[in-house]
Amino acid sequence: MKIFSSERLSPILVKELRQGIRSKLFLGAFLVVQVLLFLYGTTLLMSDGFRGDSSSALALFWSALGLPLLILVPAMASQGIDKEITGKTLDLLLLTRISSYRLVLGKWASVIVQSTLLVTSALPYLMLRYFLGGIDVWGELRSFAILILASALLAGITMGFWATKVNKLIKGIAVLGFLWFGPYMFVILFATRRGLGGMGAGIGLVLWVYAFIALLMMLALAASRIGPPAENHSTQIRILALVTLGAALSIRGSSDVEVLSAVFASLILAFSLIGALSEKVRAVPRLYAPFLRQSGLMRWVSFPLSPGWPGGVAFAALVLALTPWFPAWAGEFRPGAFVALVATFFFPAALVRTLLRPERRSLGLYLVTQVLLTIPFYVWGAARAFDHTSVTYAIESVVGFFPPVALVLELGQPSGYTGVAPTLEGVVILLGSVVALVRVARLEWQGVVSRGSSGSAPAAALIEPQTVISVAEGSLS
């Protein structure tokens, strides 16, 4: 009865394993792996001159393991959080002592254990290959470890992404696309054992560093989506983004390594910046108390890490201000592109914050605004294709100031593009966005920490900063 009765294991891990290893999906995956490996073993034994290190043997062996681990297991993981929400079991879990982060971590750990179980079942066939083909056992074991890690990374990222409030159809397409990419990621990671192409051995480290940060970020994101309103996960996500920034600023090597580092870092940072700029302000005093407790300079320094979009604006400004110092861009700093880059993040945020009602200011609207702003670019492209010089010129000289079109035009430098940034107009748009954002952010932040003037102000607005701190510390009876 008490198969998993260890006191040391996380309760959520115990529960997930109890459920997971009895599920039809896991049993099916296990059986498929066994059948494929058995067929592989039989073929190996019956064929004359079929060596364990031949390319056919390698392809068969790693496909039998790679497909379930890099596609099936991450697909299973993506459903982990969703099942708790749709199954109406999440609330019950959140009322226990398990924090939402531990909950996500436990679910992810159980996926790793299940992946490990699948891989371990292939060890006898590895030995068979060793006796038949004289393969490098340590190298193969390292590949096993890479396979498990890759599976764990994919599982964590799909789990976090699936927990977002994005439309399920979009999420489904994105996850399928990502899982299609999964095996290629393994090939890349596998290849980094010997260096990837001409990029050198350092590329493997870069990949692992960013993959690990992305994993932690996605797990924190998943926790933030399911956690109770009084839990703060934003600070953790922003600290991870700062770690990414630190890595991007400090990783040096060949130009390929530096460019790849900058690209991966930019993807992670863009993701965290969009989240920070569109994050709602929650009327929970204890979320802000640790930041309000700081005095003088420390309050300013910690402000970018405070949850909610007002802190997010400061955070985005900090991150974007440091991006020109990426080693990959050394000696290639283009003020026009920089202005357009910063405006790409701030301009849609300013539109959303100033034009829409507070309850509608969400991540979805931010993204929709961003997409709508790209429409002129497609018009420009179409006009170029049909050789409508007047239209292309009109877009370049008017709409081209506005991000993200300005950034696309500036970075892409398409043929025939005359270049509109940096211009006075581009800088004005950026400054206007920043001023608008700061103005609204100040109002909302004051609403959090000081006495609100209207009845519709959030609950926290009715509490003085000192009271926020004392309430959070439990000293107010």
Binding site: E84, A230, A283
Partner: protein, 328 residues
Amino acid sequence: MPVVQVEALERRFGAVAAVQGVSFDIEPGQVLGFIGANGAGKTTTMRIMATLDVADAGRVVIGGHDVMNQPEQVRSQIGWMPDSYGTYPHTTVWEYLDFFARAFGLEGRARENAVADVMAFTDLVEIQEREMDSLSKGMGQRLCLGRALLHDPSVLILDEPAAGLDPKARVEFKRLVRLLANDGKTIFISSHILSELEEMCDAVLFIDNGQIVHHGSAESLMRVDDESAVYVVSLASDPEGLARWADMTPGVELVELTMKGGRLRFPMAEPRQVAEALRRLVADGLPVIEFRREERRLEQAFIETLNKNETLNKNETSTTAVGNGRQS
């Protein structure tokens, strides 16, 4: 001192005000019923109390801890039972309880004892090896109650726990709630089945459109506001005799005749006068089989309270409109 204090609670979902200025207290050991139509604000109020949602304004304090700022302390003191609970596939009753006991931080012997105790209390011992998916609604609700009791909370928040139960399971559930109340637990329970709350609760709280419209004992609500009393009289013969008797007898009014008798109203329900009238009813030769005082059922009281509240709101609105008209 109240163990639960709810002060001026407000919660909006966009343009909809789900909870508007709700305030009430619950004393230690009290069983407080929470009644309201669908969408009245019951579940929202309960979710805020259970730290699962955040109020836009107002405050909830449970056991001296603020739910918004000290949710961990509050969670250790409450047991929450939602209106519908989810099941885990491939999980037995024992495994479910064992998992939650672990999740509540119980270890070793303490966990084993807690699981055994709640299984014994909720009569789940015999089905501990059954998978959750195969449980009946009644068994499931007992399991859900058992889960809520694992960490021995002092306050239980039960959101429509008897919804969908068959009569036998409902009786059994009521018995468990009474046992818990006798054990000193403070219980806040919502239901659509008003008669159930009438039997279980020390007091009831009516909510309508996010506002509390009544807070008091069920008896006080069921009592007719004025001093009159209505008695149901059953006769062995023609009910017309009752009508004639009521016409001739001072201080008695006939409300209506029924197939087997009728309903009599005593405008001044002073017990001695009622007793004297009923004595005369028998003495005057009417073949009386039974008479009993009629009380409003809780359902009726609920509807009348809602209607009264609606009328008050309408009057207030028209008064304000008139006032505004004068001002302008």
